[in-house]
């Protein structure tokens, strides 16, 4: 790598034409579209209307052969490292590399993840731009820095110096800081901890009757949560009965919990129903315990197709064999050189150091991350064989493609028709579930926000609500309304991001720019509220960090009016464009039955005609106090899914308007007394008391599962707590895009090759959210 360092700049300086070469390279840095992680959202803004990177002569082009500049946006996972190396190799000299975001440098918030690499180990980097996520201004400044570097101006802004502190002696005398984390030595792990709630006796009796002899115990674990314990042999029969007799038709989560000191795995399926209205809010946990040695269990994917991909994921993480699932023994999410079975407790990830010992070199403080070695991720043999004889071609698309995010989909195409498609997610798998097991509960708030930084508040809300449900905290009314406002702003933001990507996939750059311009307005408001563009981390258990003042509320109110004009323009140019309608109508149809079978969530489920919105079914925050409607459609095609989300934006604005009006009349604290304890002075602003209030949260024993309706669907957090540690024992996150992946592949079959982008855009598939 050292040989390559600055080789391209040196290359430019050779020859008699070097002034021209430098000048032309400087003003014609065409970045190739190498979106690697969540900072891609900010890249979109940097090159859209608000900031317009094209001013600097940088034109985003999708193809590595024709560009000379890579902007690496954040995390490079082990799987993506190969793509990065390939893309860099494909580009003609002279070429330049910028790394943006904190995780591209030393890992940022994912520094101890088992699946990331450092981009500087893979390609020579010309400029680093810190930030998590970076702002578009910073990105453009990075472009300017590269330009300066090409013409020979050194723009080094930071000089690292080691400073010997004069009062070192005093420090030594003080007590050295220790880790605030407390791990229970033999944690008590129990899924079915019964609780006295005034709910579910009838359902329990029904289940007992229907599952006669098949279960070991049925426990009500919380309101709307019921756990069925069964044996490994009966698991399949229980699922079969639940599906056939109780109309429990989809799985929301597949989870494996390893309990090494008891030599067992707990395999659990969280199922629910889309067809039976009474069962819609209910989460039925079916679980069984199996031995640590040779763990095997019957796959439930023949019964619940929606469990398919999650089972494969769990197989990779824990090594549990799901008999009957075709993907066993094959890599799905992880790269070939990722450590095996990374989520097992015996696999330890690096911990923070709290003490700097004298004489220690800085390299020792760095996380030892080996550069990736084996980078080959093959396409399954049986997918390729026979293609030639059947007159079909195999086309892999992604993870580096002008029209794909960080997802690889491999097609078999006959003529122009897609015969089969297999997905390969995991290019942005940053191992959040493992990292979360090594952080305090409160430290996980910003971590889980990085699931989807174009929908940050909802991601926060999902996690924070889980903690609140576990701790039994009642959020003050004012905070409820303010949280509703922020969540809806975030929803609008996410939908416009998807709309922009949808129009970009149709080659309609104007639609993309308009959508980003509208997002910019919403982000502006989020900045006013929290100070951060796309990662506010503003919600905390029990409320929010600080109050929203009246003048900011006025700005939010103004936004609800101002957004209409631009919305109209976006609709005129893109939505009602005859070509858009011709491309999207009747394409990628997912019937109601298919949508339920594949376990679709969110607007994509509603577009197929299922009236399922958690904000109505199991209302949280202030949603039941406001007047709004659920948007459903019947067509289930790309246009339906797209228009459905545009209609939801209007509902969201309606909610924001009402909530802003209501919240002006509601005084009071924004943090609950339950969580504040003795620090009552923090009721309106947590600043200064944050760690004292939240540092030592411990959840009661048991498993806490909460579902939240985020922009793209149901976000499920399932936290296993042993009741003693102040770090979670296991966190299971199921993000909506992950659940939608199955239906996405289903909708592709039988469509034309070019329809892949229509379907992709219509599902709003956001890979960082799906891969976690």
């Amino acid at each position: 790598m050292e040989d390559y360092k600055n080789a391209n700049v040196r290359n430019l300086n050779s020859g008699i034409l070097s002034p021209f070469r430098r000048w032309s390279s400087k003003w014609s840095l065409w970045p190739c579209h190498f979106i690697t992680s969540c900072c891609g959202v900010e890249l979109a803004h940097a090159f859209a209307s608000g900031y317009d990177g094209e001013r600097l002569g940088t034109l985003n082009l999708g193809i590595s052969r024709q560009s000379n500049y890579i902007i690496i946006e954040g995390t490079i996972t082990r799987k993506m490292a190969r793509a990065l190396q390939f893309v860099w190799g494909q580009m003609p000299d002279p070429k330049f590399v910028n790394v943006i975001g904190a995780c591209g440098q030393r890992g940022g918030i994912f520094w101890n993840s088992y699946n990331i690499t450092h981009p500087s180990d893979i390609v020579p980097v010309d400029a680093f731009i810190p930030g998590c996520p970076i702002t578009p201004e910073a990105l453009l400044r990075g472009v300017r820095a590269t330009q300066d570097k090409i013409v020979g101006i050194d723009r080094k802004t930071i000089d690292f110096k080691r400073v010997e502190l004069p009062f070192e002696k005093q420090l030594e005398e003080r007590m050295v800081p220790t880790s605030p984390k407390i791990f229970a030595p033999t944690p008590a792990i129990k899924v079915d901890v019964g609780r006295d709630v005034d709910w579910g006796e009838e359902l329990k009796e029904n289940l007992k009757r229907d599952l006669n002899g098949l279960y070991e115990s049925i426990t009500i674990t919380d309101t709307n949560c019921i756990a069925i314990k069964t044996t490994r042999e009966n698991l399949k029969a229980v699922a079969q009965k639940l599906r056939d007799q109780m109309k429990v038709d989809h799985v929301k989560s597949v989870n494996v919990i390893e309990v090494p000191h008891e030599r067992k795995f707990i395999v659990e399926y969280i199922a629910s129903s889309y067809t039976d209205e009474a069962l819609m809010p209910v989460l039925i946990t079916v679980f069984t315990e199996i031995g640590l040695k040779d763990p095997k269990v019957d796959s439930l994917s023949p019964i619940w197709e929606s469990a398919n991909y999650s089972e494969r994921e769990m197989h990779e993480f824990f090594g549990v064999q799901f008999d009957g699932n075709k993907g066993m023994g094959r890599k799905f999410v992880l790269a070939p050189d990722t450590p095996d079975l990374p989520l097992r407790k015996e696999f330890k990830i690096a911990e923070e150091r709290y003490v700097y010992e004298k004489g220690m070199s800085l390299d020792e403080c760095m996380v030892p991350i080996e550069p990736p070695k084996d980078l080959y991720t093959p396409i399954p043999e049986e997918f390729i064989e026979g293609a030639y004889d059947k007159d079909e071609i195999v086309v892999p698309i992604g993870p580096h493609h002008a029209g794909s995010g960080h997802l690889r989909v491999t097609f078999r195409i006959k003529g122009d028709i897609i015969v089969d498609a297999i997905p390969e997610p995991g290019f942005v798998h940053r191992s959040m579930e493992k990292i979360a097991e090594n952080k305090l509960y409160i430290q996980n708030v910003p971590l889980f926000e990085r699931l989807a930084i174009n929908d940050p508040v909802n991601m926060n809300l999902g996690y924070v609500r889980t903690l609140e449900n576990a701790l039994g905290i009642e959020v003050p009314e004012r905070a409820q309304y303010l949280r509703t406002i922020m969540a809806e702003l975030s929803r609008v933001e996410a939908f416009y991001y998807d709309a922009g990507i949808f129009s970009l996939f149709f080659g309609h750059t104007t639609g993309f720019m308009y959508a980003m311009a509208i997002r910019e307005m919403v982000i502006e408001v989020l900045v006013k509220i929290s100070g951060s563009r796309s990662a506010p981390s503003f919600l905390v258990p029990g409320g929010m960090r600080r109050d929203i003042t009246d003048d900011v509320l006025k700005v939010i109110d103004n936004l609800t009016f101002a957004i209409h004009k631009r919305m109209k323009k976006f609709e005129d140019i893109f939505v009602y464009n005859p070509v858009t309608i011709a491309r999207a109508k009747g394409v990628g149809v997912l019937t109601k039955a298919d949508a339920i079978r594949c376990g679709m969530v969110g607007p994509f489920l509603r577009a197929s005609g299922v009236n399922y919105d958690l904000r109505k079914i199991a209302p949280y925050e202030a949603y039941d106090k406001l007047n709004w409607e659920v948007t459903t459609g019947d067509d289930g095609d790309c246009l339906g899914r797209f228009l459905g989300r545009l209609a939801e934006i209007k509902q969201s604005i309606r909610i924001i308007k009402q909530a802003v009006d209501a919240v002006k009349r509601i005084p009071g604290p924004i943090l609950s007394d339950d969580v504040l304890g003795e620090y009552k002075e923090a009721a309106n602003d947590i600043k200064g008391n944050f760690f004292r209030v939240f540092g030592n949260l411990v959840l009661p024993k048991g498993e806490w599962t909460t579902v939240t309706e985020v922009a793209r669907g149901t976000l499920l957090f399932s936290i296993m707590s042993d009741g003693e540690s102040n770090v979670p024992y296991r966190v299971r996150v199921i993000s909506p895009c992950w659940m939608n992946l199955r239906g996405f592949m289903e909708a592709l079959k039988g469509e034309r090759y070019a329809d892949f982008w229509a379907v992709y855009g219509s599902f709003g598939y956001f890979p960082p959210e799906a891969d976690r």
Partner: protein
């Protein structure tokens, strides 16, 4: 100075009407300038449409007009990669060979007006020759794609081939309608027939519309950006080209657009007819001609900001259904109107 025999001859050659028209205006020199300016105009205008400014910082006073110079120089100086699976000879030859069918139609363009034709070669079969050369262009693109030996290039090439047939026939029939209308296929006669402001677009708007859509398809501009769709097949046939080879491929589309716009100006917009600019003589016709061509090109490039892309089957459906019917109606229209006039 002018007494020197060589310079005298040289200037005489340059100012020789046919030569001037071919080499300078509206021929190669203007074409070369437009190739540098037009992508800039496109990026600026589409940028305005999209609430942003487009290239600017390279020369803020002149609004970044030299942006394309930087881009083309960069392409010139960049490495040309020929990957090992490519057919090496064709891979390098086709971008250059492509210039033949693109530039030759300029030989028959009449940039003058009724009574004073400005055309390099007068031929009774001018239109037929131009149409034949224009229809030859896709063959070279197919060659490019085939030599690339890449999946996306393959898909893009097949798309190009499909679309080629879809627009080809309506295109030829639309030109045929105008031949019927004017009663001649000589480019001098075509412009003469549009004397007195009775332009082809007024005489036969249906043929003009068909021709325009066919030109969009032929130059692969949105909404018919199907063979080169960068989100789908990443520039299709050109996916493996880098450096100056891609630079050539990149400008080829614009050259093709120039030729088709010039043909449209000649056939439908009265060639170089317009009010005389005092002191310029016949050059004023050339200026009018280039201006009209530029306007047609600007309309074509601005569609990028308005339309998404059709799918291949939809594009073909438009070609084989709507456009073919329109073209046939245009022929009937020409027969009727021709009989009345």
């Amino acid at each position: 100075m002018l007494g020197l025999p060589v310079i005298n001859n040289l200037i005489a050659l340059l100012l020789w009407e046919s030569f001037f028209v071919l080499i300078i205006m509206p021929g190669f020199a203007v074409l070369g300038t437009l190739l540098l300016i037009l992508p800039w105009i496109e990026r600026k205008m589409v940028g305005r449409m999209q609430w942003r400014v487009g290239p600017r910082e390279i020369s803020p006073r002149t609004r970044g007009i030299i942006q394309l110079l930087a881009d083309s120089l960069r392409f010139l100086f960049q490495e040309v990669i020929i990957h090992k699976d490519a057919h090496k000879r064709y891979f390098l030859q086709f971008p250059f060979l492509y210039f033949i069918p693109v530039l030759l139609p300029l030989l028959f363009i009449n940039a003058g007006t009724a009574g004073s034709p400005l055309v390099p070669i007068v031929s009774d079969y001018g239109l037929q020759l131009m149409v034949a050369l224009i229809c030859l262009m896709p063959v070279f693109i197919l060659g490019l794609g085939w030599a690339s030996n890449n999946r996306f290039a393959f898909i893009g090439t097949v798309r190009e081939a499909f679309l080629y047939f879809a627009y080809e026939i309506p295109f030829i029939v639309a030109v045929f309608a105008m031949v019927v209308m004017y009663g001649t296929s000589n480019s001098v006669g075509v412009v003469d027939a549009q004397a007195g402001g009775l332009w082809g677009i007024i005489l036969n708007p249906i043929a003009a519309l068909t021709f325009f859509i066919a030109a969009l398809m032929a130059t692969a501009r949105l909404p018919f950006d199907i063979p080169e769709a960068d989100q789908e097949v990443s520039f299709g046939p050109f996916v493996e080209f880098s450096g100056i080879a891609f630079g050539l491929a990149y400008v080829m589309g614009y050259e093709k657009m120039y030729v088709l716009s010039a043909l449209m100006t000649m056939l439908f917009l009265g060639g170089g007819s317009g009010p005389m600019i005092p002191g310029l003589g016949e050059v004023s016709y050339l200026i009018w001609f280039v201006l009209k061509t530029l306007i047609v090109m600007i309309v074509v490039v601005n569609l990028r900001g308005v339309y998404p892309r059709y799918r291949l089957d939809q594009g073909m459906k438009i070609g084989w259904n709507a456009m073919l019917i329109l073209a046939l109606v245009a022929v009937a229209w020409s027969l009727v109107i021709g009989a009345i006039i």
